[in-house]
Symmetry: D2
Subunit: 460 residues, 4 copies
């Protein structure tokens, strides 16, 4: 069954017909199309277009159809309908005959699909938020276990200053918390009901769109402009963008941990549960899970780009180009959702090698800034201290020692102002402990942040 | 002057040195670097690192430098400094000598530039918001003038139903209002102070970061994790994305109006103020302004993609790759800001041809849906009505008339149920008037929306 | 069956296992994996690793497997194998037992998949080229039928000068011919055999890689560097890019024809075979096919971006990220291929309205340049002629006439130098006929180009 | 001076005028605009539009202008012209008065700028190719010096098999050689002359476009279709794409070397000439040059996306959107060119630590595949050998030894089939030497490839 055709004579070209069909991917909106149709039937009843008996009959048919397809979706796969809307109208017609032919009164597929998509995204948003929350929880747990585990901190992939592994985990918690906010903002901003906007100009029937929006669960009422309502895909763009940023964050975590898990770093191990081997090299244990997270970043960013390109330069109001919104958006959401879940599995299957991490912290002059700070405490201007320590590092590299291992006379010659014992003053505990201002890496501070996050998670 | 070098022996390769310099584009952050340095000097004073006399002297020097460079920026252009931070430190040293060498205590360029950028974006955000507001105002004015001007509405670039030009203008108001929210969300989400996070691990001095954040005007306090603080570029991504969506919206307006201004449509004219001619064809008057808005959409979307690609897969914490954040972001912001301003000029230099618009509404079966609705009112199921009207359209096309012009006997044969006079029932006023539900295009409804927007603009 | 596992203890996490599997999409490479395996078995035989009896047995098994799966692919869908390579190895083991466990000697999935993909792309390239050729043929046919059909030519969507519809069609032929070259270049550049490069370092067995490349049909011999061979995805990028440009071209054709098919232009009609209707508006006949071509441009450009992002910053040699190459590339190729086919259907279902086109050419000063040229012929400097005609156009607009319809005294006052009769000199035939230099729109010239293209197509 | 205006009354809005101007960036085409104008003057002479005296006078004026601006470009910066074409026409008018007003006869800025851009790209292409060649040369030199330097080879950033550093360098040579081909292909494909195509429909004067193309140095004659000629930006897309792939390659080299230069790997050092320090941490020496190469990859990919988005959906023939082609393309070319030069400096300032590399090769089971191969040689099926070696690796990890260090009884128990002494059979020299097939990493093979590349470079 088609929802149009009266003015047409010839049939569709087969190649084009296949190209034009969207049931293959828009069937995902089935439940939402039914919910939307239910509410529309009721709204037509309120507007006097349908009798209350007709409404009741339609409600029963729609609900029955939903139950039936939930238990056996085979009719969808077998259908030749152009899209999910045609499929539903056709299936209803099989149940209630001519009455089904009244349901589309004052409605268009344009406002219908806009509504369906928002309903779907709201639904999916809850699951998505759950996956985000779960990953955050896994990271907070890890941070709790490693709040005092000393790890080299890097800038430019060069050892910089020691940090705690817990601090590192919480950096990603901060990112993901912003991500959750972005998803929430996007869902809130789109939370208006397009139904009753018709094809482009508004419906010609006396529909109470506020009541209809309520019935559908939209919290911010009906959309205020019909042209905008049927052509707006901002929410698709915004969600695909939010997914892209999530993926960028996951790609950074992947990069960090793949590095730490290399033989060279040797500070972290992935469990067998998230590693795979090589078909050729028997010794290989590869961090495939993390690599896939990083690789799929491209996929999601590509989906965002698809959507932006498709929307660029489209005239008002609806154009068929917009049919291309769904596959890209669904793929971005599905991929990111799967990545969040896999990332949580990885976080729970990772193990820092505490000894190796500590050993790594002891070589590579990670305490050089602290030497400069000791000079500052002794009255040297920081920039001069920086320069002097730089010279000392060069000398120490040549003699193959760390600053705290300099021969006593060299140490005295280079830093006469420092009275403290360097070995003591530069112990990892002291170095970490000094960074105790808000945002710093000291174990005490990290423990406080972990506690704060645990509290926040409880009321998430 | 360089801010590093103690451990280095050889000089930089010239090709690389030029490649590495950022003063050419980060000088835009000068005022912010001074503000940040002022606050940092005070914070060092509070922390007991500087004496109050030193703080006072530094404050005077920083403020003096700001005043001087505001009146004569030539020293910036002449400088060989690597970046704006080195430039400022060097310029202060010329003023207060050794004291300047104390200013960088406990600070890194990593937290410094993160702070500078946020301060800059907050500043620029105000200007940007002004430009958005001004464009919305121009569109609301246009909507007020054209709330009852009948215009063909299109889907698939085919005439669909009549709308009012005011309704069309308000569709863009809705989009831009969402854009303004997105910009605001992005600015709010980033409103935390990175200063005092050091290079990556936090500062080792007892800085009161909450007071410091206050002093700098950040409303949401200090960042909570130093690694995240120095490596976070989410705000750059988010603003570039918000700009991209704005540009997509402007590209659609451009597409609409370029079409309406074609000879074929002939319904809209741009003033000479925003049109240009051809070097070869004397008759040409081209809508260049609108075309540039559409063309520059690519530029801004490209900038967003640049930023996403650059951030993908970077290890914690700071990497030099991040220096590439600024040019792309500045270009996206500048371009979009300029486009908003040009768009407002265009809106104020556009004129609908009321007669041509009305004439266009009368041909092309824009009232076919209303005929179907009349059948519905007479008891026909909508889908049947739709089909019958479709057949009638085919017949009408063949005889070269509109539905309301059908010969009386054909009209009677085709729609016996409709008792009303079609010419009357299908007058543009009646057709428009029927779309009076919220979001609809009826003049009355559009006038209400215009009034609501005017009120909202007053308290923007 | 897995191709690795000796060093592993725990099983895979289920979430990760599903995430990691690629059989769902790499089964498309099945035929190529079999061809590659066949050649590899022979190469191992030549190298003395397998006996000739073993080679014969493997050949039979591989060929048998291919035949069987071609007639019944169900075992693939039912398989739990990780990827197509594991699937094939497992299926062979079922047939020839232990012998199958020898086939992977000296080979890695890294060089194997690189080879499979190139074999597949070569195969698909032929089909793709056929679709390109067919679309070009359809356009050349259209150009032949409309070589002298006058159509307004546009710049800035403003009427500029008359062109012929045939000339317009040939513009797209030029674009698509470049596209075909780009595809060919990409296929040629990748035509080297990666097989025998092992996982990254080359194979340790005395494989004759030149013979092997020959056997596989690669025309440019073996790849010269094993690290590059297993990590190179340039061909995926290059093909996705070539597809992107094709789509940009199709999007422009779509934009042109959607405009010409609007009520406003009314110069072109799509057949019912490639149009669809509206669920609400009975009169609508929408150019959906063309809109989908334009909309899918975003999809293909997005796929290119996915691939670029995924490849950025990957370390040598193979990383799991590269598994993400296939879905994006396949989608780009499939989408573009389908679009080429649909575009050809559209070209064959489009009809220019010769009268409407001609009428459109007569209004809008499309002959203004020719008036300037007549002044030039009479000795006026072009820039002065341009300016004077510009003034004349302004006057003509005010009086509502075309230049050739100016009152005799005004015509004489404005262009005293022109002796020719303007109506005659500015007839569409004369205007078109003047553009007879190579590349020009004159019917005669277009006919020549059509003939040249027909010849070229014969030997394509 | 403006090149249009006759039909306009009001002046341009200032905001729009500034927005519309392109002289700021298209002045880069000045030399090409002069070359094009020179050839056009001659072509007008041949066509009888200008007298030979006029041609001579124009030639002198154009050449004089070129000389003058080359020595003092100040007039360009001071000019208020809209674009470079207006600037040149105005400057010529100052020199030869009215004659300059004849030069634009039969020409449009549309074909003019298309020609200018191609001339510029051809010029720049030569420089670009030089930079590519130089980087290849630097890598070949490095490969020559390190053809036998053993280095761990990685897949998944896990140690896989030993390779030689020379082999690694040559992998990038292969990539860059493909890049050079792509650039060359793009330049060849665009090597047709648009001049004489007018605004869109061809020129109305009897220009000999073949002679004109020759005069301009285009090797493939004139473009064959005027609509395509003025709207074609394929070459911009293609060059931006080729640049993007180059950047992806450089980003991978950056990733490799940044890793090898980390303290963790410690196998490679960058000279001070391409490293920088930290403003806070005195010990830091950062691989900034490589990081910038990787970071700028985003910039170039963004430029490609800009161009694709801008071109998508543009109607024929010229639209002002296309003015946006230049800045993105120039930035992509300039950035990539600079990156190639910086990369060459880096290659010449990098030093492998031969001992550290060798030591790294000895740990991490890089010889496990060779053990499996030895089992194969002893008659074990590869898949079984793989599995057994995998088990042995697990055991060896637990006891903290490499396979070749297994206790004699364990070695005998695990691999009874292998008669050879493992320590000998698994020496790095033996392991490397085995990979001697074409494309393999054996020193002998790498030396051959180096020699072949040196030869190729001589005739580049």
């Amino acid at each position: 069954m088609s929802m149009w055709g009266g003015r047409f004579e010839g049939g569709l070209d087969e190649t084009f017909e296949a190209f034009n069909k969207s049931l293959g991917f828009d069937q995902r909106l089935l439940a939402d199309d039914l919910v939307g149709s239910l509410a529309w039937a009721r709204a037509l009843g309120e507007a006097g277009v349908l009798t209350s008996a007709e409404v009741t009959e339609l409600e029963a048919a729609i609900e029955g159809l939903g139950v039936e397809l939930a238990s056996d979706p085979a009719p969808i796969a077998a259908s030749e309908a152009e899209d999910v809307h045609s499929f539903v109208e056709g299936a209803l017609e099989e149940r209630v005959g001519a009455l089904a032919r009244k349901l589309h009164t004052g409605r268009s597929r344009n406002d219908q699909v806009a509504t369906d998509l928002k309903l779907y995204l709201t639904r999916f948003g809850r699951e998505f938020d759950g996956a985000l929350r779960d990953l955050i929880e896994a990271l907070v747990e890890l941070a709790g276990e490693t709040f005092d585990l000393a790890l080299p901190g890097y800038t430019h992939l060069q050892r910089a200053q020691p940090i705690t592994a817990g601090h590192h985990a919480l950096a990603y918690v901060e990112m993901l918390a912003r991500d959750a906010e972005r998803i929430e903002d996007a869902l809130e901003r789109m939370d208006t009901s397009p139904l009753g906007c018709g094809a482009l100009a508004g419906t010609a029937f006396p529909i109470d769109r506020e009541a209809l929006a309520d019935d559908l669960g939209f919290t911010a009422g009906p959309t205020r402009n019909s042209l905008d309502a049927v052509s707006d895909r901002d929410h698709a763009l915004e969600l695909a963008f939010a997914c892209s940023v999530i993926m960028v964050h996951l790609s950074r975590l992947a990069e960090d941990w793949i590095f730490l898990a290399s033989s060279e770093a040797g500070m972290l191990q992935f469990g067998d549960a998230v590693s795979t081997g090589s078909s050729l090299m028997p010794q290989k244990k590869n961090p495939d899970a993390m690599e896939l997270l990083r690789g799929k970043t491209g996929r999601v960013i590509g989906a965002l780009q698809s959507l932006l390109v498709t929307c660029k330069g489209l005239p008002m109001a609806y154009d068929k180009d917009l049919q291309e919104d769904k596959e890209a958006l669904f793929d971005a959401l599905d991929t990111t959702h799967a990545c969040l879940r896999v990332a949580a599995v990885c976080v729970r299957n990772v193990r820092y090698d505490r000894e190796a991490c500590r050993a790594a912290c002891s070589r590579g002059f990670l305490d050089a800034t602290d030497v400069a700070d000791l000079l500052v405490a002794a009255g040297v201007a920081f920039r001069d201290a920086h320069q002097r320590v730089g010279h000392a590092v060069r000398e120490a590299i040549e003699t193959g020692v760390e600053l705290r291992e300099l021969a006593p006379e060299r140490r005295q010659a280079l830093f006469p102002e420092i009275e403290e014992d360097l070995v003591h003053a530069l112990s990892i505990e002291r170095v970490l402990g000094r960074r105790a201002a808000i945002g710093g890496t000291s174990p005490e501070r990290v423990a406080e942040e972990v506690a704060a996050w645990k509290e926040r998670l409880e009321s998430w």
